[in-house]
């Protein structure tokens, strides 16, 4: 491949790729993100390849294996263009029929179409599916257009044109002004205005300067950054290039979680490809702008999502944060000016440059502009990734896009912002998703996790879960976080195990406030949110644990009891075999019983019993 030296070169290459694509009568796009891979998409792709080979259709039909389309629940997914035909939950056995019927004869296969659960209607077009219809998929929508390992796909769709525009017609200050005008705020959790941050870094003294892409997405229940980096690594690289030019940085890092092997691999390939095209390296596009990117794999520490800890980790040290009275834009990596943004923030930059700051600013609310990707998970029907305009209400996301409860049970809360966020009750579902609105309610937008919880979730247990997580991940450098969190966990454990008192509940709140005020970094400062928000909105659940020694959701093991309903038990023995703790006894054909001293209350027997004979009280 020749290197790209100017806009014409890029246009030529894009046109050449588009011409290649026009040579195919049909394009079959298959999602090969982590979710669909786990549901077996690789064997579907293999079957399709073999079938096209067998029928000598390889030259006519293009197969594109892409990153995540977002609707992970329905995977493996396929979209056939032209026609926007959407097939879901495909198995390799379906392939011959898809090729013979849909690809060759243009006939739809109803069995593979999506069924709208509310109306029972079959939907053929991807764009008509309610899950997609209510979204604004600016960033995520690109995933299905590009093969993440083929830079040509990215370029054919207008990729790197924003970089060329910036390098050939804009001054660094103009780029910064454009980003400032767009109102883009960091999408990693902090929500700091990106343009202002870039400006601070540009003005800071010290050379060389660095830019970092934070892809150490540690929030449990969130995987937006994973999907963008896996599915469209070049958009992140292009964003970083534009940022580096504006800031005056020479070197960049993508710090990516080692738990995301596909993201590591795809970003490495993309960096190599961009280098070969001359889009990374020295004198990019014949200008005096030079920039390179290294991929650094994270060590699996949640606190390394914090900027100063991440930079320490990049330097090969333990990832402990430092006080931020000197900003990283002044003294960051190796004590030099460093600008860090997360994957989604960088991915938005090329769109802002190409479509203009006013286009971006036209979406969203007065303080939160543009779109934001959320990972909608938990007890919800349509789990997956959703991208919406800021300002969309939680209710619209959960019910219109998410399709409501997966189990038919009442949804009682949504947890946003991961371990730094909080649990919001159903009464607040009309809140718009906006940095300020969610923070005022005691939660946060965070990086974009959205875990939906129904009646089977105990909110005290959720608070305990997050505290255990945070205590485990606390680096231990500062006392309020290290000691405060363990004292808080002691109290919460007492409550979930039936030893809680009302005085202790007040002490818990006091301690939480101290940890929040006195901790060194954002991990500690926000750690009390899950506890405080659950006490605020679900106090009755705490009181049931404390006063009645009951867990209303039937989760806290010390407060529940399993027994077998004599009338329903058929003596089939399934529970006896299923119990991992050998706590169930009984003869075949006779009523079984649970031995309380051995029962660890895991509930596996209840899951195994087909007759509903396991009673929970």
């Amino acid at each position: 491949m020749r290197t790209i030296a100017c806009m014409e070169d890029l246009e030529k290459l894009a046109e050449q790729k588009r011409k290649e694509n026009r040579g195919y009568s049909r394009t079959v796009t298959l999602c090969a993100g982590t979710g669909c891979c786990a549901s077996g998409c690789l064997s579907v792709i293999k079957a399709l390849r073999e079938e096209l080979e067998r029928l000598k259709l390889k030259e006519k039909i293009k197969i594109r294996a892409t990153g995540c389309h977002g609707f992970c629940e329905q995977g493996p997914l396929m979209v056939i263009e032209p026609g926007n035909i959407f097939y879901c939950r495909i198995k390799p056995e379906d392939i011959p029929e898809i090729v013979a019927e849909t690809l060759q004869k243009d006939r739809l296969i109803e069995r593979l179409m999506y069924t709208d659960p509310s109306s029972g209607r079959k939907i053929a077009c991807e764009a008509e599916i309610p899950f997609y219809k209510a979204q604004d998929r600016t960033v995520l929508g690109q995933n299905k257009l590009v093969d993440p390992c083929a830079v040509g796909d990215y370029i054919a769709n207008g990729g790197y044109s924003a970089l060329v525009k910036v390098l050939t017609s804009m001054k660094p200050e103009e780029v910064i002004d454009e980003i400032k005008r767009s109102g883009l705020r960091g999408r990693g959790g902090g929500g700091f205005p990106a343009g202002r941050q870039w400006e601070y870094c540009r003005q800071a003294e010290g050379e060389p300067k660095y830019v970092i892409c934070n892809a150490d997405e540690g929030d449990p229940g969130a995987y937006m950054d994973r999907s963008v980096l896996e599915g469209n690594p070049h958009v992140v690289i292009e964003g970083m290039l534009i940022g580096a030019f504006a800031i005056g940085a020479k070197h960049g890092f993508i710090y990516v979680r080692n738990e995301y092997p596909l993201a590591v691999e795809h970003s490495k390939i993309a960096v190599e490809q961009a280098g070969k095209l001359g889009l990374l390296g020295t004198n990019i596009l014949g200008t005096d702008f030079s920039f390179d990117i290294k991929i650094a794999r994270g060590g699996g520490a949640f606190v390394c999502g914090e900027s100063t800890a991440l930079m320490a980790s990049l330097e090969g040290m333990v990832g402990e944060p430092r006080p931020k009275d000197i900003h990283t834009t002044d003294k960051g990596f190796k004590d030099l000016p460093t600008n860090l943004n997360n994957v989604e923030t960088w991915a938005n930059v090329p769109f802002i440059i190409n479509k203009g700051s006013s286009w971006f600013a036209s979406k969203g609310t007065s303080g939160s502009k543009g779109t934001k990707i959320f990972a909608l998970t938990g007890q919800i029907r349509n789990t997956g990734l959703v991208e919406i305009s800021m300002g969309t209400t939680l209710r619209e996301i959960i019910y219109d896009i998410g399709g409501g409860s997966a189990t038919g049970k009442k949804i009682k809360a949504v947890q946003t912002g991961g371990p730094s966020g909080g649990c919001l009750p159903e009464e607040l579902f009309d809140l718009p998703v906006d940095f300020e609105a969610l923070a005022e309610a005691g939660s946060m937008v965070g990086s974009g996790g959205m875990v939906v919880m129904d009646e089977d979730t105990c909110m005290v247990d959720v608070a305990r879960y997050f505290l255990e997580f945070l205590l485990d991940e606390s680096c231990g450098k500062c006392v309020p976080c290290r000691i405060g969190l363990s004292r808080m966990l002691e109290i919460i454990k007492d409550i979930t195990e039936g030893r809680g008192t009302e005085e202790k509940l007040e002490l818990l709140k006091d301690t939480a406030e101290t940890v929040s005020v006195a901790s060194l970094c954002a991990l500690g400062k926000t750690a009390p949110n899950p506890v405080l928000s659950t006490i605020k909105y679900f106090r009755s659940e705490y009181e049931a644990h404390i006063k009645k020694k009951q867990c209303p959701a039937g989760v806290c093991r010390e407060l529940i009891h399993y027994s077998i309903d004599r009338d329903k038990c058929t003596g089939c023995g399934v529970c006896l075999t299923a119990c991992p703790h050998e706590a169930i006894t009984g003869e075949k054909g006779k009523v079984h019983r649970i031995e309380d001293d051995k029962c660890r209350k895991c509930g596996i027997c209840g899951e195994a019993c087909k007759f509903g004979a396991i009673k929970l009280s």
């Binding site: 979710g35 786990a38 449990p220 060590g299 090969g316 990832g319 875990v451 979730t457 879960y465 997580f469």
Partner: protein, 163 residues
């Protein structure tokens, strides 16, 4: 460590002499190659990369990606992320305890299985998720997990029987 192992470490450290900033990357590569960080390898790292041994151990201990103990032949990772948690993932640890008699972070006595927990695999739509030797298993139940563990154990029994 055998001579061949020492050579593997040398290859990993090649070009990283004195580059203390590359410490984590080097440890990642050693972990990938050996599935744990052997003590002798850490001593070579310290010497070649000019990082005090105590600092190498500190880093190796700090990050979850590293382990100082050899892992079992099969690695079972149970996702404990929020989405998996609310869908019942804690039960899997009961199942593991019942089937293999080990807790997370431990390895069975015969060296067959190591069980680890992870805070989130980012595959929340498929939750609860477990990963066995790199392969994702979605929408797990305790019953499915039992079959998975038993299946892996019986494959081994078959192999031994064939010999």
């Amino acid at each position: 460590m055998t001579t061949a192992d020492a050579k593997r470490v040398d290859t990993i450290l090649k070009g990283r002499e004195g580059a203390s900033g590359e410490l984590i990357e080097a440890l990642q590569d050693i972990q990938d190659a050996f599935k744990y960080l052997p003590e002798e390898a850490l001593r070579s790292v310290s010497e070649k990369m000019a990082v005090p041994l105590i600092e190498v151990f500190r880093v190796a201990n700090y990050y979850k990606a590293f382990t100082l103990q050899p892992r079992g032949r099969h690695l079972l990772t149970v996702c404990m992320g929020t989405a998996c948690h609310v869908r019942g993932a804690p039960r899997f640890l009961d199942e593991v305890l019942g089937q293999l008699d080990i807790k997370p972070g431990e390895t069975t006595e015969d060296g067959d299985f190591t069980v680890e927990t992870v805070n989130c695999l980012g595959a929340c739509a498929l939750g609860p998720v477990v990963v066995l030797d790199g392969k994702y298993h979605d929408h797990m139940t305790a019953g499915k997990l039992r079959a998975l563990i038993q299946g892996t154990l019986s494959k081994k029994a078959k192999k031994t029987g064939d010999r």
